[in-house]
Structure formats: structure tokens, C-alpha cells
Amino acid sequence: MKELIARLVEAYGPSGNEEQVRALIQDEIKAHVDEARVDALGNLVALLKSDPDGQGKPPTRVMVAAHMDEIGIIVTHIDEKGFLRFAPIGGLTPLTLLGNRAVFANGVMGTFGMEKREILPTEKPKLDRMFLDIGTPDKESALKLVSVGDAAAFSRGFAQAGNRLLAKAMDDRIGCAILIQVVKTLKKNPNDIYFVFTVQEEVGCRGAVTSTYGVQPDLAIAVDATDTGDTPESRPMNVTLGKGPAIKVKDAGMLAHPAVRRLLVEAAKGLGIPYQLEVLEGGPTDAMVMQTSREGVPSGVVSIPCRYVHSPSEMVDYDDVTNAVKLLTKVLEDRVAI
């Protein structure tokens, strides 16, 4: 599974530009699902039909979702000297940019720079004072490589630190990897399962709005990365790396439906795997908009504890990942009832 994770996190896919990630996922799952379609916004919606139950009862429609997009930048202006000004895509922290590189869909690479670098040590950098340097001497040569509106993502390779995995875009390719692994692992399936790989989560959970409307699930679970409270002087939060997948109770966007939370907790207990309950000050996830779809969809979240979220080096624990796969597989292999 690590090899799959490495390929996913290294793929390019800032919000609105998820094509490469989608192609990769499509390739991975196509042999294992009954249908897969791409909707108007670019969400990949794959259906695994339920095994016949012999009694003709309509199967429960379960939606599990992870988002394909990652944070990044979008070019807003190319100046006469060939430097690129940009706006953030998603929640970008300026501090994480300096010294880092960004790459465009066509492979063009650049590094971040800042006006008046000499005052850096005393001042927090602001995005409007930063630019991307793609090595071009003037506007004309820059325009041959990129145009206004092009998006770039962090460029950073996958690495391991002990049992922990380090990469950019762990949020939420780790969710994508888990879903793919679940698709491949499922032995039986009493439910209609919609595996949905959404777009544009980082800019407002947009893909989940339209895909949930299309799928009309009876119950929905998002799989996403969450912050932790286990680093020196971090915020007081109960989630720790390596102590199991987190089952969301609440974040800034939603209260997880108690029935979904119970379903997940009971599955974890039944398996005897570690889990943690999560109350996050930040947020949201795709589940926020899934629950408001149509007449309402009971929704919950399986969160993967992740340090340094929205930086080029997000860290997850491999055991949390494999336990999340077990947890979701268990939930989906039983008939889901609300």
C-alpha cells in the first residue's frame, strides 16, 4: 500500500486541476467496481453494486468519499521581469512557502521568493509580498511556459520516517489511498457502495455538493486528514499520531451524526483496533456538505491523524492508515442500517 500512497501523494492536483490524480485512481479501481463515471465538476463516482441478498430488500446506499485535490497556488500576474504573482488555492500558510518549490501541470518548476528578503527574520511573510520564480529572464519567456490562471502544487517527494509517512498532499491522498485499498479488500458487499473521489474540497467542499446530490446516499462517510494535538506546545486536542484512526464527533463545519459515529465506534471495538474520538476546532470536511444534501444524509468522518497539515511535509502514521482500511472494510462488509 505504501507504493500506492507514494504515487498518489506525488501526483499533481491542486483544486480545480485534479485530472492527473483522477486518471491514476481510475486506473487503480476500474477492475474492482461495477461502474465509474466523472460528473460535471470532475468528481469520480464509482459504484460497487451489492451482492444479491435473496430477499429482494433494497440495499442501503452508502457513500464513502475522499478528496483528490490539494492546496496550491494560482498565477494571477506575470511581471515584466518574468516573476509570477499568485493567489492561494485553499488554506496556504505563507511561512510554509519560503525555501520550497512548486510545480505546474506541465512540469515547469519554480521556487518561492519574497520582496525585501532581508527583513524576513523579524516579520511574518505575507502572500502579497511573495512571488514564484520559474527562472525566466522576462515576461515573454515566462509566457511560453505558463499563463495567468495556471495552478501549481508543492513539489516534494514521498519519504518514510520510521513507521511514519511524510509527503505533501497527504491531505487527502491518504484518504484516496484508503478508499482504493478498501475497494480491493472487500470480500462481500451487502450494500450499494459509492466510492466518490471529490474535487475542490480545499476551496469549499464543492465537489461533494454535486456528487452527493447525484448519488443520493442513505448514509455518507468522508475519509480525510485531521490535525493532531501531540506536538510540543500544540493546541490542546485529543488526537495523537499512531493511536488509531479518529472518529469525528465535531468540527467547525458539522456535528457528526450520532448514528454514524456509533456505527464506526462499534466496528472499531468489534475489530479490537485502536480508535480516537475527535473534536476539532478547525475544519470542515466534505461531510459538512454531504449532510445537507437534499433531505439530509446522516454523515460522519473517519479522520487520519496528520501532523503539519497544509505544509509540504504532512506526516501520518502507517498503522493508523492500515487500521482505517480495516475499520471501513468492516463497516461496509456488514449490512448498513440506520
Binding site: D39, A40, L41, T76, R85, A87, S147, V148, Q200
Partner: protein, 347 residues
């Protein structure tokens, strides 16, 4: 001139009737059907030329009727009006302006303490809305209440006129320019190869609310939003984006705070413009939000793009636009609607 009457009409978010009635008069003979929904959106349909398909391709074009302005929240004993902003107005632009209060257009002024009485510190401070008031010339609450009610809308009393170089000035070009362009488009041809839903929306400025319900109702296959958009092409200290350039052609949005434009529709617009020599430009990404931000999320999703007329000083009492940009927007869209089926076979 159509743009003039649209610009001088008053229609703040939630009170678009005057603008709607004006538009309705213009489009009645140009469309096959129309209706007004429960929020006040004017939804028109111009049927497509060929009716071969069981369900003809549906294209929705939205332009919003509402403008930013003020609302009376309280009447002081002295007769002065306190107000709040409707939509995103800049406090710095409000002092010393003439306004029209209520549907009867009672004239008033936003007064300011004379410079003589200001403390040194105050001269450099922006006065906030809750410290401002409107004077309609009355001297008591009772007198004011004979002309004005709590909840009345307040619009700027800006007149439309032509400037040199094919420019015009007026108020509410965001988005009366879009409304005028949409009307021109409906006027331009007997029909287009798709069912064209020209939708004049309400409440864009307070959260893209009209477009949201209209798109749900229309269920379009593709959507375009027409806008009067930010233009910041005045001289700057740094080499930064002008957002759009006045006279630079129709401005295509690639992405803003509310949505990412559908790449296929952007391609359609760009190819159409290049092929026909219509000037166009890309708007600075991630600035502002448009009705497309809600339309693209309707039901199972709608491929959408926004195209705009650059307007200087929007969200202030007076705006400037270039008529050439306006004409280029109409021309580009007219051609693009014809080209759409060839580039993109049936949905």
C-alpha cells in the same frame, strides 16, 4: 440608451422590481416565455432553432439585477436617518454623496463633519457607516416618517453620461452592464442552436442567492454569468495585476473566490475569440465572486464560466466602462453560442 436607463434605475438586493420591470419591457418581444419566481428572478426562455432533440441543449446565461447600496435602519429624533450597507460597499466612498431614499426616491445627502471641526487625528480616519447619517432636510422624526420608513432602500443618485474615448460613467454597472449585454444577446438573433435561458437574477450582492434557486429550476447543461467586473488599471507603484484592463476586451474568469471556470467553456470562448478576432482578456484569478459560484453547484453540477465587462470603481457611487468592451462581450457570446454545438456535441 438601454445601459443608461438600466444604470439610473434603482434596484438594491431584495428590491429589484424597478429594474425587473424595465428589463421585462425590453425582452418581452424577444423571448418565447418568461416567469418571475418566488425570490423575484426573471427567467426568460428563447427557444432553439431546431427542435430535433427530445430535450434541446439548455444554456443558461445569468446577469444580476441588484446593486449595492444602503438601507434605513433607524430614524433619529432629529429626523436624520441611520443606515446599514446592503452588499459590499466601501465606507471611504460614502461621505458627501447624494442619495435617493425609498421607492419614492426622496433625495438626501450623506453629511460629513466639516474639515474645520475635525481633530488632526480624525482627518486620516475612515468614518464607519454606523457613525454616518442621511439628511433629507427634515427637522424631526415625525416629519421624516411622513416620507421615509424604517427598512427603506437607499440608492446613489448618480447620473449616466458619456465620457471621451467611448467611455461612459454611471452607477451600478455591476451588473447592469451584464443585464444590458444579455438583453442585446436576446435581441441579436431570432434564435440560437440551444434553448437559451436568459436569467436576470436577484440578490447576487448578498450571497449569490437568486442564481442558486434559478439554476436549480432551469437545470441547465451549461451556464455563463455576465458581469461588470473589477478593473484596477490605474498606475501602481509595483508591477501587479490590473485585474482587467479597460478597453482590453471581454474579460474571461478562469477562477474566482466562488468557482473554477469549466476548462472546456474557457476553450470555447478563447477559440471563438481568436478565430473571429474579438478582443478578450483573462481576469485576475481569485478576485471577487459571481453567480457562477452558485450555478455550478446546482443539482449534479453545471459547467460554468463568467465573462465580464471591465468596470472601474465598482461598488462605489460612480463607475466607468468602455462601450467597446461591452460590444465585444455581446459579440463574443453571440458567436460562442453558435459555435457551442460544434465544439461540444449534444449533452
Amino acid at each position: 440608451m438601454l445601459l443608461q436607463s438600466l444604470s439610473e434605475a434603482c434596484g438594491l438586493s431584495g428590491n429589484e422590481a424597478e429594474v425587473r420591470n424595465l428589463i421585462l419591457k425590453e425582452v418581452q418581444g424577444l423571448v418565447d416565455e418568461h416567469r418571475i419566481d418566488s425570490l423575484g428572478n426573471l427567467i426568460t426562455l428563447k427557444r432553439c432553432s431546431s427542435t430535433g432533440a427530445a430535450r434541446p441543449r439548455r444554456v443558461m446565461i445569468a446577469a444580476h439585477m441588484d446593486e449595492v447600496g444602503l438601507m434605513v435602519t433607524h430614524i433619529e429624533k432629529s429626523g436624520h436617518l441611520r443606515f446599514s450597507k446592503v452588499g459590499g460597499l466601501d465606507d471611504r466612498t460614502l461621505l458627501s454623496k447624494v442619495v435617493l431614499v425609498g421607492n419614492d426616491r426622496v433625495p438626501g445627502v450623506i453629511g460629513a463633519k466639516p474639515i474645520h471641526l475635525l481633530k488632526e487625528k480624525e482627518r486620516h480616519q475612515v468614518v464607519e457607516t454606523d457613525q454616518m447619517y442621511i439628511d433629507i432636510g427634515t427637522s424631526s422624526k415625525e416629519e421624516t416618517e411622513r416620507a421615509v420608513k424604517r427598512g427603506d432602500y437607499v440608492a446613489f443618485a448618480t447620473r449616466f453620461s458619456r465620457l471621451e474615448g467611448g467611455l461612459v460613467k454611471g452607477k451600478a454597472f455591476d451588473d447592469r452592464a451584464g443585464c444590458a449585454a444579455l438583453i442585446e444577446l436576446l435581441r441579436g438573433r431570432g434564435s440560437y442552436p440551444s434553448d437559451l435561458y436568459g436569467v436576470f437574477t436577484v440578490q447576487e450582492e448578498i450571497g449569490l442567492r437568486g442564481a442558486r434557486v434559478a439554476a436549480y429550476a432551469v437545470e441547465p447543461d451549461y451556464a455563463f454569468a455576465f458581469e461588470g467586473t473589477v478593473c484596477d488599471d490605474l498606475p501602481k507603484k509595483k508591477d501587479l495585476s490590473p485585474t482587467t484592463i479597460l478597453g482590453g476586451g471581454a474579460a474571461i474568469t478562469l477562477a474566482d473566490r466562488s468557482f473554477f471556470a469549466d476548462k472546456r467553456l474557457v476553450k470555447l470562448l478563447v477559440e471563438t475569440a481568436e478565430k473571429n478576432g474579438v478582443p478578450y482578456q483573462f481576469k485576475q484569478p481569485m478576485v471577487g465572486a459571481t453567480d457562477a459560484g452558485r450555478i455550478h453547484l446546482a443539482r449534479e453540477g453545471v459547467p460554468s464560466v463568467a465573462v465580464a465587462v471591465p468596470c472601474r470603481y465598482i461598488h462605489s457611487p460612480v463607475n466607468i466602462l468602455s462601450l467597446s468592451d461591452f460590444e465585444n462581450l455581446v459579440r463574443l457570446m453571440s458567436l460562442a453560442l453558435v459555435a457551442l454545438p460544434t465544439l461540444w456535441p449534444s449533452p
